[in-house]
Point group: C2
Chain length 410, copies 2
Amino acid sequence: MLMNKVALIGAGMTRFHHSLHKDKSSRELFVEAFLECLDSVDKSISHKDIDALFISATASEFFEHQSHIACLLSDWTGLNPIPATRIEAACASSSAALEIGVFAIASGMYDIVLVGGVEKMTTLEVDEMTYALMSGLDHPYECILGVSNPGLYAMMANAYFEKYDSSWEELTSISIKNHHNASMNPKAHFQSEIMDIAKKISQKKGLKFDNEMDFLKSPTNPYIAHPLRLFDCSPVSDGASAILLASSKKAKKFTDTPVYVTGLGHTSGTMSLHDRRDLTSIPASVEAGNRAYKMAKIESKDIDFAMVHDCFTPAEIIATEDLGFFPRGEGGKAAIEGRTRINGEKSINTDGGLKAKGHPIAATGTAMSYEVWKQLRGEADKRQVNNAEIGLIHNVGASGGTAIVQIFRR
Amino acid sequence: MLMNKVALIGAGMTRFHHSLHKDKSSRELFVEAFLECLDSVDKSISHKDIDALFISATASEFFEHQSHIACLLSDWTGLNPIPATRIEAACASSSAALEIGVFAIASGMYDIVLVGGVEKMTTLEVDEMTYALMSGLDHPYECILGVSNPGLYAMMANAYFEKYDSSWEELTSISIKNHHNASMNPKAHFQSEIMDIAKKISQKKGLKFDNEMDFLKSPTNPYIAHPLRLFDCSPVSDGASAILLASSKKAKKFTDTPVYVTGLGHTSGTMSLHDRRDLTSIPASVEAGNRAYKMAKIESKDIDFAMVHDCFTPAEIIATEDLGFFPRGEGGKAAIEGRTRINGEKSINTDGGLKAKGHPIAATGTAMSYEVWKQLRGEADKRQVNNAEIGLIHNVGASGGTAIVQIFRR
């Protein structure tokens, strides 16, 4: 039980994009997210109010030959000499940073803490980038054999198809929905429906696609790792996100509509896929979900909307089952039936998800919280979930070595 | 003010060494430290008692192409599925992990937390290793110009000599003392007095050195970055360290002699040296010390012994001044006069320091706490400080972008 309640009092993020931030380094990207975060606080807040920084940059060693980045960001944001620490848990890094920010405040040590993540990925070519991200897998047992992140999720997809007699077509419902949601999100990497992208490509190449499936099944959507095609994979994006946390006592000074952190679940799983009995579920996600529900004293049915970790389309289906939103084997069917659309039975990835919003690794976790912040304050514009009261984020490290679930309510 | 008091209830570390651990990976090294840590707990403790893991491996991306190492270590220690998070702050990484472990317990979230660090450095050749560690500097402003860690500390040494009219001879008092202390430490990388090493080398090469200074001034002790010679630099070592933290309530269940964390100071400084007005002090250290003293409600004079960050010999002199142990410009003189020897006026680096105990980057912080644990429990054997009641650790990230000071008492 936490000794003190902790709230979000501000949130900011850059747009996620592959070329827009070409000339910006990760420090410049983070400053941009930080400034929006400061601006988002309802009442005036100053640098002096911020006590500490917990920040993620998952693979900045590879992307910018830069470690020790926390103190650098403390300096660039003008927050120096506050304590600044970098947090890493692969793709779940900045959710881990948020969790630690909560601990630091609940402990009584600090009143206001800045957390967030930044990743400048496009400094590397795709092959080098893929190899860099393979460092998040078990090096001697997976990475060294040439298996990459798409390969691992492809194995999960195949296991799922086999067990539940389903097929790749189910996956397309995820990418189509997430592109639709992202088309309404000004921060998203791709702000287009898949059909709009298909039309653009067909004009360029003199092709013709009658509908989305036509396009998704064509060689224009090539295989990355069978059965995953290009549009089953989240893109490579640059971006940053930032969240300001405060003790509930301090929060009232800065906003009349704080968003409270009510549930924290964080677990480690086996890193290698070969150590798991079943590939159709991520055990760490199930356990993290259970812990978060227990702490928040709610059940999965109480969740109004969720950002789940759809690094690859099968991951969203598995996540919605692992979190108890749908029975085993029915996550894909639920998506096809539109039950995961905004204001469907359970609104999933209202921001476009990793698939269409983008996935600058370390920025992803707190970008999920950013969307929860927007939704719970009724500021999500066309993406708004009606009567949003309880939101959840689910952030997975690599192929499930880490899973973090966090629950927020207004 | 922390809501709960937190104590150390166990500590373990591998020997630090450059060749002894040749066939071990970082996961195997950490398991070794963890097992000693479990064994060190006075009363029986089981894996099930441990709630979370905060672990550092500063540059494992470069050394083993391995990030996301926290969940891997959770698995290899048998602690899976507990939450496992990696913490990074360059050379101060595992002290930052310990601090976060304290927050996590004081927050009420967990009762018992494992913290620690591991670094397997010897996978790289020296030139690659040097470049890897340069990632802890400001990449576009320092690293890219070819400046390395020894170079930065060499600049600090020169500034110090200039300002206080002192010279390289003062530095030798640090390496001589720390090698002496390490000669009594079974965990140290070098367990030899400098004169013993000199004799060994002279026999091999047919040389003759009449005393330590003779050797230290000879070409056998070559310049690394003027004025720093080889014996002014900490070595490249593999190693791991681990500390078990518990709430004061739980601590009593496992030991009658817990060691309490009473002061935490952690600050960020400018990363680049060119952003500092004066190179004869590390501002982040001064501020971290002040914060730790304030929290512990003591002054520098109350400290019985300290592990300070002597990655290079001038760093120890500057640290003893930054922490208020000696007036400005007198740290070197104090060392020459023997006032920093074990049971001198202020016992500094009783374990041999980074210089002679070794400096496997991420393992260093919690290895400092390991020595404090031994000292405060009266288990430091020949290195024992008489009536040791209050111990301090001072851990710097790279050239001072981060400084962490922690105070412990029995």
